[in-house]
Symmetry: D2
């Protein structure tokens, strides 16, 4: 249902080195459509969340355990999405996720969303996160995660 491979997405020109890109697959739900007959725009942010959950799992860091064991939350500081083509009910969707930038304070994920059925590129975007403790106070990423997230000191 998901795979990770080393291929540089073409859109984030800022990335000069190949970054691992993770692919998740899902199907557009009836609940996610609106009366325009297409997937409602806020749901792309939910799909991005699935993308980064699966990305972290592929790195061997289930996000659930990061929250439970290390009490580290990834609070969203910014979200951006460009909508290129509509997604329809029951479309099989590919969410490509990669880390754009990682520091001990901030983490930025990049995303590309594509329709698996017909290959159309549906959307691209990013989310910026700050690490928080369970009281929602900004904190630093524990060192044990630095390597896997590619943190630059």
């Amino acid at each position: 249902m998901a795979k990770t491979h080393d291929h540089t997405p073409q859109s984030p020109a800022s990335q000069s080195l190949p970054a691992p890109v993770h692919e998740s697959r899902l199907r557009a739900r009836y609940a996610e459509t609106d009366q325009m007959g297409i997937v409602y725009y806020s749901n792309y942010l939910v799909w991005m969340e699935i993308g980064r959950t699966e990305y972290c799992r592929s790195l061997g860091i289930p996000y659930r355990e990061m929250e439970r064991q290390d009490r580290i939350l990834l609070a969203v500081a910014e979200a951006h999405c460009r909508y290129l083509a509509p997604a329809f009910y029951d479309d099989e969707i590919i969410v490509r996720t990669w880390i754009e930038q990682a520091s001990s304070r901030l983490l930025t994920f990049g995303y590309e969303i594509q329709c698996a059925t017909d290959g159309r590129k549906l959307a691209s975007g990013y989310t910026k996160h700050i690490y928080c403790d369970t009281q929602l106070r900004a904190t630093r990423l524990p060192q044990k995660y630095w390597k896997v997230f590619g943190v630059i000191r």
Copy 2:
């Protein structure tokens, strides 16, 4: 935006004594529609939640404070909804809420959902709840709430 008055709804035949019925108003959101052009069915359960939140506020018990101060959660044990007519985007909606039954273990809310614009009855239903502590263990309702919820010993 909301009012409470003493009138017995006709549907719950089980109630022989007049129970206070609370009315909340909201507007159907674009996000809540689906490609059928009507409000997606799970959103009625969200509207019921708004109904009981406002009902509790009208009793002088903000549910938020029940959770924060007394650490009492109302976990849902059962939900039921009959859909009588479709709701459309931007319809003004009335949610009528009342307590069907209250004990120190269980609380049942009844609901009627109506379109304010044209008077159509859209749905009726109920939700059954058990009181839980913050560890999600079943507990009893603190005595201070018994009178206001009409708990029968």
Copy 3:
């Protein structure tokens, strides 16, 4: 990701003959949780929708095509859910779906929702549907679907 097999679920006592039961799998999303730390109750109705979409696909009737080609919509007339245990973020969920009753006017799906990770039974329920045309007027199921849905005249 999904399979169909002939085994009678134990809960619907009304069914004396084995009915095909379809299993869909999904993961509880962060977006689906609430501040109680568990999946919000209306999302079970979304999971039921995924269950019946996958059920229809397994019968060789993609629901998307039923809507597009035959202009038949399955409007929800009733929904019921009993919540037995909480679902948590990232839990792998099994949705078992079967047809409880089918006539040319009405279609009832039954559901059981289980946590794949630890085997806990999370919920059971049903949804009743009427067939509608694209103007949302009640209609009859076209005969070509009778056999596959098990319509009893």
Copy 4:
């Protein structure tokens, strides 16, 4: 529940002339929270939709009628949100909406989201839209809407 007044929001420095800013009010729903105990990030895009719906209504153009009568849809081309402070269940929320830029091809709304209870600024953002016909093909805004949206030729 909503009002329009002429005051320039401080954030969009690009706007040199006072633009009408519309205020909508809503309450954060339990359904909108997540297990972090705060409103899930995609719901801010739903609140923005409420903001622009109410903005259009305040201009005398119910968006519902734009879709129904003139068959003009506002498809989202881009969405951006900066999250400044968390929103909590039952917070009363103010959504301030204004038109950042309007042409016969594109419409950009700006937003500021604030907590009414304690005055905290929660978020700011924008959404860019293209006008579409009901077949989702890009089209031009009918001239009758130019004045009210402030379209610059």
